[in-house]
């Protein structure tokens, strides 16, 4: 029996499961490993989709007649392998930290790829085969495919609120089996018992396997694993959400004494603490507070206490409240009022509810208000001004993207962000930012450069009068005043440094002999750099520095990107001397990911050509034309999608929701656009630019309008309620995505008309280039900014429109 129509429902369910799986893998691998490696592994695994294109192209003669059986089998196999492959992959003893020494590690990484590639390969086979089998209906298939994917993206977000990542993994497996059951039903597979058997299997997975089978195996080098190796240490509370797995650890025998960079002169010991880990990284300290001030004295021995010695009982805004250390510091110093912003409600809940007795509920104290939300938006949308804005030492998690990309975008540390902060200071108020001290200096200098640039952008005539920098042995605190630092403040600053053995590296009027006295570096690098960054030779200094310390901007929000190609040979040569810590990992991992993705993609695209799987060219579509067209739209779709996710992070003010909402809207409306593409094709018969040309013109007009209008529109819209901003975002994305959904089905339909056997190969090209494009987009954004990525995408769309040929 030949199926009359494509199994649209099964395709939608399967695509939903695949996208959910992709997002879930990011969670799972972030818990087991670290997120930039997670990103690398997922990019590799996604090539399974491309491999499916190659597989179907090569074997279509034998696969197409068995469509029903292959589709059903592959869908079910996705369900099974989604679970099994991950469980096996985490049994592979892959330790990315040993990659550069131990030749076994790259082999183990390949094993991880090979395992995780399998489920993507299975799902890709279903989808690609559907396009090849029902070549006349790419619009309907594509529509089901990506509307399903868009739904899956929101569904996994919801699922992660109600179940653990391991639970969600099983649900995704169950969905794969459901897709198989749907397919076997609608395709009338002969084995009548099959749908019921698959649904039975799905039910088992949905209810859950034994927990020891699906237990997580985090790397022993994760902070949490190391902590739990200490006798008596145990997890006393755990809460999981799409924002992360938060674990609270109690260590009664060897207490946490978290006081990063505490002055060596200090004699105070921190009070009892619980360690709070997010995805096994940390800890942040949840400190016992009984309302007495004295036990908090250690908080005055940190560099971040400096602003409290420059201001009298300030009104404080803390960005990144975490488990409360900065709030306690403000309480200790008698802050008049404290507003604290924290992104992750789980952590606030732990402090205020679950461990209320322990924490003393600092967020509920007199004059303290805690706000759950994103720090940048809180500042921008707030009309109030503060005496002190304290940016806590939380590192990437808070304001960075949920981790879909190798290097964390951070909108907390850009030039625009610092301008916002300074704008919200009272006259004479202070912005204080504490960072880790890295040697040779990197992020402290970038922060200093960012502050200088922000002050200049604000029209400050003498930024040098407004800045001060103090350095301990582990942390440094930069102070930016709204106004010139007074003589009294400079005296207080020096006293603060002397009494704690912190080095004063910069203040207006500093003498070289005052810097680098307590924590002695071979050269006074911080002091020299501060002077250089304030002087006329700033650009030359930034250019000749061996790390990238040019300020981050909203268009290139990569504060944590310090890597310079120029320094790579020197750093690699220093490997024997222990120079590798100087290498910033994120960027090389990104490059490695790009290279491996590109190489595999090329092989996958070329293979069918060599073995006759691509099928013969037609007079309308040569193989070269197919390659150019489907590669171009693969790249441009991904570029625009990724760049707009980042643009909307600022409006939606939440890295995770921005990704979910924007991705979902893009996919769903592109799916609708796909359904509409046939009509556009019919309407465009007489038009000179053809249907793809029309779609591309629409994309171009919308994109250019957005590039011009969105920045100011977003500022105006930020104070609106969450739901309003979400709806507005969806409305803004809808027309763009609608137009972007057309070129792919239009191309496939035309190829199918002229050269049917090319369809599977064309699909594979698109799948492969999409993976490469996702990685390349990040790389380009780092160097050129997201606006350039968008403009590049437009050029590629024009290329696609030119390459397009209508089948007549």
């Amino acid at each position: 029996l030949k199926p009359a129509s494509p199994p649209l429902a099964a395709i939608a369910v399967l695509s939903a499961a695949v996208l959910a799986y992709e997002i879930l893998l990011m969670r799972l691998l972030s818990i087991d490993l670290w997120h930039h490696f997670a990103y690398m592994i997922i990019s590799g695994a996604m090539l399974g989709y491309g491999a499916a294109g190659t597989f179907v192209a090569l074997l279509q003669r034998s696969l197409l007649p068995r469509f029903s059986a292959v589709f059903t089998g592959a869908a079910a196999a996705f369900g099974v392998t989604a679970v099994v492959a991950f469980l096996l992959a985490q049994r592979v003893e892959f330790n990315p930290l040993e990659m550069l020494w131990d030749w076994r590690q790259p082999l183990r990484l390949v094993a991880v790829y090979a395992l995780l590639l399998i489920p993507f390969f299975c799902a890709g086979t279903c989808v690609c085969l559907s396009f090849a089998r029902f070549a006349q209906e790419p619009d309907r298939i594509y529509s089901s495919d990506i509307v399903g994917a868009g739904t899956g993206c929101l569904a996994i977000l919801g699922a992660l609120y109600v179940t653990s990542p391991a639970g969600a993994l099983q649900w995704i497996g169950a969905l794969g089996l459901v897709a198989g059951a749907l397919a076997s039903g609608s395709l009338r597979v002969q084995a009548r018992w099959l749908p019921m058997a698959l649904l039975g299997g799905a039910a088992v997975l949905f209810v859950g396997l034994a927990s020891q089978w699906v237990a997580m195996h985090p790397s022993p080098y994760k902070d949490l694993s190391q902590t739990l190796a200490v006798k008596g240490a145990r997890v006393v509370a755990e809460s999981s959400s799409p924002m992360g797995l938060v674990s609270v650890v109690e260590s009664p025998l060897v207490p946490f004494r978290h006081a990063p960079g505490m002055s060596l002169n200090a004699i105070a010991e921190p009070p009892p603490q619980l360690g709070v880990f997010t995805d096994g990284d940390g800890p942040a300290a949840l400190t016992r507070y009984d309302g007495r001030r004295e036990p908090l004295a250690y908080l005055d021995a940190l560099t971040s206490a400096l602003p409290y010695h420059l201001l009298e009982r300030p009104r404080v805004l803390i960005l990144g409240a975490g488990a409360g250390a900065d709030v306690l510091q403000a309480i200790y110093h008698g802050a008049r009022e404290i507003d604290a912003v924290e992104l992750n409600p789980q952590i606030v809940d732990l402090v205020e509810q679950r461990f209320a007795e322990y924490s003393g509920r600092p967020y509920g104290g007199h004059g303290v208000r805690v706000h759950i939300g994103e720090a940048r938006r809180f500042v921008t949308a707030n009309a109030e001004r503060f005496d002190l804005i304290q940016v806590a030492l939380l590192d990437a998690f808070g304001a960075s993207s949920a981790g879909l990309y190798a290097l964390s975008e951070s909108y907390l540390y850009t030039v625009e962000a610092l301008r916002e902060y300074i704008d919200h200071l009272e006259p004479g108020g202070v912005l204080a930012i504490t960072r880790w001290v890295n040697l040779p200096p990197r992020d402290v200098l970038k922060m200093f450069a960012t502050a200088v640039t922000a002050l200049e952008a604000q029209g400050s005539v003498h930024p040098a009068q407004q800045l001060a920098l103090i350095r301990g042995w582990k942390t440094a605190t930069l102070v930016v005043k709204n106004g010139a630092l007074s003589a009294a403040q400079i005296v207080a600053l020096k006293d603060f440094g002397v009494s704690r053995s912190f080095d004063v590296e910069y203040y207006p009027g500093i003498q070289a002999s005052e810097a680098n006295r307590y924590n002695v570096l071979e050269r006074p690098e911080f002091h020299d750099a501060a002077l250089a960054l304030l002087g006329s030779e700033r650009e030359a200094f930034v250019a000749s520095y061996k790390f990238n310390i040019a300020p981050a901007t909203d268009d290139r929000p990569y504060f944590f990107q310090f890597f310079k190609w120029r320094s790579l040979p020197e750093l690699l040569a220093l490997k024997e001397q222990g120079g590798l810590p100087l290498l910033e990992w994120g960027y090389p991992v990104l490059i490695a990911t790009l290279i491996q993705a590109a190489l595999v993609a090329i092989v996958l695209i070329v293979l069918p050509l060599l073995f006759g799987g691509a099928g013969p060219s037609s007079n309308t579509w040569s193989r070269a034309r197919v390659t150019v067209y489907f590669a171009a739209i693969g790249f441009s779709f991904m570029f625009i999608e990724i760049a707009f996710i980042q643009k909307f992070v600022l409006l939606l003010a939440h890295p995770l929701y921005a990704v979910a909402v924007v991705l979902c809207a893009f996919l769903v409306f592109a799916g609708l656009g796909s359904r509409y593409s046939r009509r556009v094709a019919a309407l465009s018969r007489t038009s000179r630019i053809g249907p793809v040309g029309r779609a591309v013109v629409a994309v171009g007009l919308i994109v250019v309008a957005y590039l011009v209008l969105l920045p100011s529109a977003f500022r105006a819209l930020l104070p609106l309620a969450d739901i309003a901003r979400i709806l507005l975002s969806v409305a803004l994305i809808a027309p763009l995505a609608f137009a972007m959904g057309m070129p792919f089905p239009l191309g496939l339909a035309s190829v199918a008309g002229g050269a049917g056997r090319l369809v599977a190969w064309a699909w594979g090209i698109n799948a492969c280039t999409s993976v490469v494009a996702a990685v390349l987009a990040t790389l380009l954004a780092i160097h050129l900014g997201f606006n350039t990525v968008i403009l590049l995408a437009l050029l590629l769309y024009v290329l696609a429109a030119v390459a397009y040929r209508e089948y007549r």
Binding site: L264, N519, F541, E576, P581, L582
Partner: protein
């Protein structure tokens, strides 16, 4: 015969040779040769990095100690064949042993004299304690992870370093009974230097703290307690690296 737990063909071959009576001595010799190569590596790296660490070479006593201590007996069996490579190694429980050059540099910075009493926080494999035992009169070492502590104590005993005083526990308060110390090394990750350690340090004494993450030591913190009791710290990059182009 802990070397029997090998995991590769290469290792098997070597072991087969070792199993033959006439080759047994050659295997220990083989490790001695590897150790000598490691020492040469360290010396070469130290010369290259000299300007940065402020010292042209590692003191000869430290080199002699490292040439003597059988590092391969202080790492897990499956890491033995890497023992003399100039790289950090995993020792289980998420802990690592520093690369030999860093061990040499840290030990050198401690300026250990034969009459010294030294303290180590973070025994790990016991290798650093063995090196210190070659140089100092008394060595006390504390490990927070109990199984590691037990294993290290066994190794130290077996390798003839039974006089090293080792215990499992919390290093935050130092080891009052063992002190005061001429120098202290803190290889355990710590967010700050415990105040009591400074108190247990003799005037003129030194504390060395590697700062970094598992496998990667970013820089070394050297705390010096002056004779008047005041504290000066230095931060030392193990490598010669000038962050400014042309900024020599």
């Amino acid at each position: 015969m802990s070397r029997m737990n090998c995991d590769s063909l290469w290792r098997m071959l070597v072991l087969l040779l070792c199993a033959l009576p006439s080759h047994g001595a050659r295997c220990e010799n083989d490790y001695a040769a590897q150790r000598q190569r490691m020492i040469d590596d360290i010396a070469a790296v130290a010369r290259a990095a000299g300007a940065e660490s402020g010292k042209p070479t590692i003191a000869s006593g430290v080199i002699a100690a490292m040439a003597k201590v059988p590092r391969h007996n202080f790492v897990p069996a499956d890491q033995e064949r890497f023992a003399y490579d100039n790289r950090p190694l995993p020792i289980g429980y998420g802990q690592t042993i520093s690369q030999p050059y860093i061990v040499a540099l840290m030990t050198d910075l401690m300026r250990v004299e034969p009459n010294h009493t030294v303290l180590e926080i973070g025994t790990g494999s016991g290798y650093q304690a063995a090196i210190l035992a070659e140089l100092a009169k008394d060595v006390c070492t504390i490990e927070i992870v109990e199984p590691l502590a037990t294993e290290a104590q066994r190794r130290l005993r077996e390798q003839g370093y039974g006089r090293v005083r080792a215990k499992a526990g919390d290093g935050y308060y130092g080891w009052e009974d063992c002190g005061p110390f001429d120098s202290i090394i803190v290889t355990a990750a710590a967010s700050h230097v415990p105040p009591l350690l400074i108190r247990q340090l003799k005037a003129g004494g030194r504390i060395v703290v590697p700062v970094g993450t598992a496998f990667l030591t970013q820089h070394l913190l050297l705390v010096e307690k002056k004779t008047d009791g005041s504290i000066v710290t230095r931060q030392i990059l193990p490598v010669r690296f000038v962050p400014l182009t042309g900024g020599h």
